[in-house]
């Protein structure tokens, strides 16, 4: 579809761009109420973006902007997910001690820019567009992770993120140049057509694929591109850690799925087949096993909750990659389902960490001791944290169990029994470090036993809603499964 006709499909993005301009004007115009006006504008931006996204459901799937961007249900689904993540991050950032000295309008401006980048990344189908959108997500993320100026850990996190991200982008573009050199095409569908009709050197295309997905795997924090993750998550302000652990990860998975299934997969009658002789499902399976194992074992000794949750998010990236390795439409729908639940669990866990850090000023496990006995709010926080942590492990009747059940069943259907075994063993290992937090909260004596003060109302509401959602989705997961199965339809 030509450029002019595509503009009408781009309404959600217009909304984000317009609200960015509004936020810039607010930044220079409102001198006194900047700290209040900026989150309001950001929240309005994301709510309007979500609504505009639902409005675009009226259109039928097509290819936009002369083959640069697709418009399909998968894109709408992921955009909705990203909008919800952004709304939650605005609430998390509103009253977080980490962001005390941070310039609010700039912070929210960068957040909106990152969300716009994720939005474009989710729907890109041209190699150049993928690169542009990936940079558009990464650069505000680098700045956001270093927002706490003067804080050494934050600056260290930003520097590590920048350097690692720059190298990963460079490797990715090198891989893209190989793909272009081999096939002569930049669009993913055109690459697929070329690979199905011309013989290519298998080794060359495999190397090109490897280099290109290095960029996506970096964003997703999977082994072997995961080393930035713990330090960046630990040094960033906690709302940004929560954002990084779900937002760019979801967008990174979306583009990884799109890249591999649009460019290198043929949908035959007997299920899916690889194209170009590149057995990338086997590669993804090995990376998934390595990621799960490394993430879970490295988390065993962590005392800092932010680092623990960082390693746990690496491990969860491994579980999600397992779904991608299973290589079937059901596996993809399981991946989408798991991503929704993962957003709820992870943001909930980080929110409890933020609420506790607001009170105690520390992220260490020590400060959680005896939380179950520290007043009503302490008990409520402890219960919510237990729900989130056990859901992350995958215990029934919580939503995490439903997610893992679907992922494992898809993997078993694809006859990757060894991968399912590795996944199950890793879930068992993860129980240790999640349960250790629960044990500290309920069974340890608190040395300073003062009751937890009343937290910010918005935070309490969000924690309650997320915990209730996890319990609900653990029992009534059908609606979400229908939604994610429908969303697997993507067009090339």
């Amino acid at each position: 579809m030509s450029n002019i006709e595509s503009l009408i499909y781009f309404i959600p993005e217009w909304v984000l761009i317009a609200m960015m301009l509004v936020l810039i004007v607010v930044d220079i115009a409102a001198k006194k109420s900047r700290d209040l006006a900026a989150p309001v504008v950001a929240m309005a931006a994301f709510v309007l973006f979500f609504i505009a996204n639902l409005v675009t459901l009226l259109f039928s799937p097509t290819s936009l902007f002369e083959g640069m961007i697709t418009f399909d249900f998968m894109g709408i689904f992921f955009k909705g997910l990203v909008a919800v993540v952004a709304m939650l991050v605005v609430v998390l950032s509103y009253k977080s001690n980490d962001l005390k000295n941070v310039d609010r309008p700039t912070y929210y401006l960068l957040l909106i820019a990152a969300v716009l980048g994720m939005d474009l990344l989710i729907v890109s189908k041209n190699l150049l567009m993928i690169y542009l959108a990936l940079e558009m997500v990464s650069i505000p993320s680098y700045l956001l992770s270093g927002s706490m100026r003067g804080d050494k850990k934050s600056s260290e996190a930003a520097l590590k993120y920048v350097i690692y991200g720059g190298v990963a982008s460079g490797v990715m573009v090198y891989g893209m140049s190989w793909i272009y050199g081999i096939t002569g095409e930049l669009g993913l569908f055109d690459v697929y057509i070329f690979l199905t009709s011309n013989p290519v050197n298998n080794v060359a295309i495999f190397i090109a694929l490897l280099f290109t997905i290095a960029g996506f795997l970096f964003k997703v924090a999977s082994v072997p591109f995961h080393m930035w993750c713990p330090d960046v998550y630990e040094g960033s302000p906690t709302p940004i850690t929560a954002f990084l652990s779900v937002g760019p990860k979801a967008a990174g998975f979306a583009i990884l799925i799109r890249f591999l299934t649009s460019g290198f997969m043929a949908a035959g009658e007997n299920g899916w087949e690889v194209v170009g002789g590149v057995t990338w499902p086997a590669l993804i399976a090995i990376l998934s096993a390595a990621t799960m194992t490394w993430g879970n074992f490295a988390a065993l000794r962590q005392e800092n909750l932010k680092r623990l949750l960082a390693y746990s998010s690496i491990a969860h990236a491994g579980y999600i990659l397992m779904g991608l390795a299973a290589f079937s439409p059901r596996a993809l729908s399981a991946v989408f389902f798991y991503l929704v639940i993962y957003v709820a669990m992870n943001i909930g866990a980080f929110l409890v960490v933020i609420m506790m850090a607001n009170q105690t000023g520390s992220f260490m496990l020590e400060s959680f001791r005896g939380l179950g006995r520290r007043g009503t709010y302490g008990a409520a926080l402890a219960v919510a944290m237990t729900v989130f942590l056990f859901s992350l492990t995958g215990m029934p009747p919580l939503a995490g169990f439903a997610g893992k059940f679907y992922l494992f069943s898809a993997v078993m259907e694809s006859k990757l029994y060894w991968l399912a075994l590795v996944g199950v063993l890793n879930s068992v290992v993860s129980l240790y470090y999640y349960a250790r937090v629960v044990k500290t909260m309920f069974l340890d004596e608190a040395e300073a036993g003062e009751p937890v003060a009343k937290p910010f109302m918005g935070h309490s509401v969000v924690v309650a809603v997320l915990a209730a959602l996890i319990v609900y989705l653990g029992i009534f997961w059908n609606q979400l499964v229908y939604l994610t199965s429908d969303s697997v339809q993507m067009i090339r």
Binding site: I4, I17, L21, I24, V25, D27, I28, A29
Partner: protein, 122 residues
């Protein structure tokens, strides 16, 4: 390849001649160093002040902002050249509005830079 030999020869000759000057003057010229001859040249008077001061960051800031608006100008050039043809096929209004939107977004950016005092020199 034949056309490029001339250019390579030009480079080679330039390097040989200028390098030759330096080498021959080093080998054949006298070398009488003294303290007064070794001082940095400041228009003939004694040097004043320290040789290295901290680089003011406002140069970097102005350079960054210049780059952004320079790229905007680079986008304006082809549009300006082709605008007449757009008008002839009846897309004149659309092309104009599109460029005004582009310039407008960057103008908001300029307002931001001005309001946050990033281009104030003092």
């Amino acid at each position: 390849m034949g056309e490029y030999v001339n250019i390579i020869l030009l480079f080679v000759f330039g390097a040989v001649i200028s390098g030759g000057f330096i080498v021959i003057s080093y080998l054949l010229g006298p070398s009488n160093k003294s303290a007064a001859k070794g001082m940095p040249y400041e228009c003939g008077v004694d040097p004043v002040g320290e040789p290295r001061r901290q680089f003011t960051v406002k140069f970097c800031l102005v350079a960054m902002i210049f780059i952004v608006f320079d790229i905007e100008v680079v986008f304006l050039y082809p549009w300006a050249v082709l605008f007449k043809e757009f008008k002839e096929i009846g897309m004149g209004v659309f092309a104009f509005i599109e460029m005004m939107v582009f310039v407008g977004i960057l103008a908001v950016g300029l307002l931001y830079v001005y309001g946050r005092r990033a281009i104030d020199w003092e």
